[in-house]
């Protein structure tokens, strides 16, 4: 917003349109590993819950064309590098929703398992977590709306090296929409950005600027 001197109004309203477009056109990648895929990818997209209402039904099989990676299910050690590749193949701006206990923390497979990765956020940055085992389709829709809010109130295009902290999609009961909104805004403005510029930038610069 401060890039164009004296043009803040113009740029912010353009930003608003861009955010609006990004938020309302989240095309998911057809990717699901376990039980959550049935609930959040299939049942949520099917007739009763209808993901299409939010413009998110255009499931793309190719990561290049997808905006939203839904980690639906357990991530194990063998899948981890592939998941990372998938994320890297996606074009910016890209968003990640981790659904279900497995993708949040390893869930029922956290203990005594020699191969389950304890949470998708150990591999890729996650924007929104949707708890449940598996979450109901409604819960996923709520997670999607949370992500939309996040995008609408955030920046239009993510700055490199700066990454937002993830937000839990389920907030305590009895909250109004305004409270949620103000909480999200506070979260975003006050302490929700993690500045990775120090070490990360140095690493990138040291590693050469090859494309």
């Amino acid at each position: 917003m401060d890039h164009v001197p004296g043009g803040s109004f113009c740029v912010t309203s353009v930003d608003g349109i861009i955010n609006w477009a990004h938020a309302n056109s989240l095309w998911p990648l057809t990717f699901g590993t376990a039980c959550c895929a049935i609930e959040v990818m299939m049942a949520a997209g099917a007739s009763r819950h209808d993901l299409a209402r939010f413009g998110a039904e255009v499931a793309r099989p190719s990561p290049r064309q997808a905006d939203l990676l839904v980690v639906a299910g357990t991530v194990v050690k063998r899948l981890a590098p592939r998941l990372r590749t998938l994320y890297e193949q996606m074009a910016e701006p890209r968003y990640v929703i981790a659904t279900g206990s497995c993708a949040i923390s390893g869930g029922p497979f956290m203990y005594n398992s020699y191969s389950t990765v304890r949470g998708a956020d150990q591999i890729i940055p996650v924007d929104v977590y949707v708890p449940g085992c598996p979450p109901r389709p409604e819960a996923f829709l709520y997670g999607l709306l949370t992500l939309q809010k996040l995008i609408k109130e955030g920046e239009s295009i993510r700055r490199p090296y700066v990454r937002r902290k993830p937000v839990l999609s389920v907030l305590p009961a009895g909250m109004t929409a305004d409270q949620i909104r103000s909480e999200l805004a506070a979260l975003l403005t006050r302490d929700s950005t993690v500045d990775l510029s120090g070490e990360y930038v140095q690493n990138v610069q040291a590693g050469g600027s090859k494309q």
């Binding site: 057809t30 590993t33 895929a37 049935i38 009763r48 063998r78 899948l79 029922p108 398992s113 020699y114």
Partner: protein, 386 residues
């Protein structure tokens, strides 16, 4: 004679793509782990000659969570919730198999009410699973609308389950010695309503997909598996029955109250994709038949025969029990050392054994046929990997 293990790279090198010929060139492509038609994170390494499949090498393990190892650390009661997450589309049947194994070994008696409700739920689950399969099958062949129709009707069953068990997918409903809860007062009403709703919908399914010329052309004579080869490949469930072998545990070794109900076991003729498709469609009808016979005759009784907190210890020894899930036979082999945890628990999963028939059916066909075959086997990847 000793055998030294090899790696995947060795395996590919052992089946070199023939690039020498001037006319055509063979090449490997990766189907998966992220591919719309592998239903999850299965990876198929396919050697192709143009469009023709020369060899299929399934690579599994992208969701191997080590459930068998985890089972050794959990009590029998705690292990049941993991069985939900094997083949999540047959969660109740999976619960039942584990409970059956435990009950048989520990000598826990159950009453008729419990068995009837278990049977009812297992059959509802079979319908639900086949509805999903039908939808996904349509989607894999390009008929996207079928997917949504299948899911629309599936939600009805999901509602019934949610009412009674409290969960939509991973229900953890059947416990050793009984059921987690008694059925909901509206259960019978809901099931009857669903049966009335679903019967005409089956005709709609036939109209939309089965009767379609393109579907017929895509399925008839594709992926033929003889009964000998199906048996040797260890397939079970609709895949084996599609190949003409009448092996259905509900009929051959009735458990639950299957011995008291009338139903037929549909069997295919030549073992192509169409036969497997037809067997599943017919199974839905038979399941409705079973439910209709049982729904009005649920006996009175307790829903749990032992204290839910009672420690279950199995006598020392080896036991194996199995039941027919929607995809085939799930077997549970428990080796007990007398404690309340299994010394070794092995799961004979239907999908693991069914999957490998792809390697026999695939070669010589086209990629599109491979998709149809994969869909007609109806795999659930987490059950393969466990």
């Amino acid at each position: 004679m000793t055998t030294s293990p090899i790696t995947l790279a060795d395996r590919i090198a052992a089946a070199p793509a023939d690039a020498s010929s001037l006319a055509t060139q063979e090449y490997f492509v990766n189907m998966g782990p992220q591919h719309p038609s592998t239903h999850g994170v299965l990876r198929l390494l396919v050697k192709l000659d143009g469009e023709t499949v020369r060899e299929v090498i399934p690579v599994v393990g992208y969701i191997h969570r080590g459930i068998e190892k985890m089972g050794e650390y959990l009590t029998y009661r705690k292990f049941i919730h993991l069985s939900d997450r094997l083949d999540y589309l047959s969660a109740i049947t999976n619960n039942w198999v584990v409970c059956m194994a435990v009950e048989k070994a520990a000598g826990i008696e159950t009453n008729d009410r419990i068995q009837t409700i278990r049977t009812l739920c297992a059959e509802l689950q079979r319908i639900q699973s086949h509805q999903l399969w039908w939808g996904v099958f349509g989607m894999d062949l390009g008929a996207f609308t079928a997917f949504l129709y299948g899911f629309r009707d599936r939600e009805m069953v999901t509602d019934i389950f949610e009412e009674t068990t409290g969960a939509r997918l991973t229900m953890n409903y059947i416990q050793p010695g009984g059921l987690m809860y008694d059925i909901h007062p509206d259960f019978v009403k809901g099931v009857k309503k669903f049966i009335e709703y679903f019967k005409p919908k089956l005709a709609e399914y036939e109209q939309l997909v089965s009767g379609n010329v393109i579907i017929q052309a895509r399925l008839r004579g594709i992926g033929v598996m003889s009964s000998e080869s199906a048996i040797s490949l260890g397939t079970t469930g609709p895949v084996l029955r599609g190949s003409g072998v009448e092996y259905d545990l509900r009929k051959t070794e009735p458990y639950g109250v299957y011995s008291k109900v009338q139903f037929d076991v549909p069997v295919g003729r030549i073992g192509d994709c169409w036969d497997r498709y037809w067997v599943r469609m017919e199974e839905m009808r038979q399941s409705i038949r079973i439910i209709e016979q049982l729904i009005d005759n649920i006996p009175e009784g307790k829903h749990m025969m032992i204290k839910p907190t009672a420690k279950i210890k199995l006598p020392e020894g080896l036991s194996y029990s199995q039941a027919e899930t929607a995809r085939g036979i799930l077997g549970v082999l428990i080796v007990s050392d007398g404690s309340d945890k299994p010394y070794r628990i092995h799961l004979r999963s239907p999908n693991f054994n069914n999957l490998w028939s792809v390697t026999a059916m695939g070669p010589g066909l086209r990629i599109a046929d491979l998709v149809a075959i994969l869909s007609s086997i109806d795999i659930v990847v987490p059950d393969i990997d466990r």
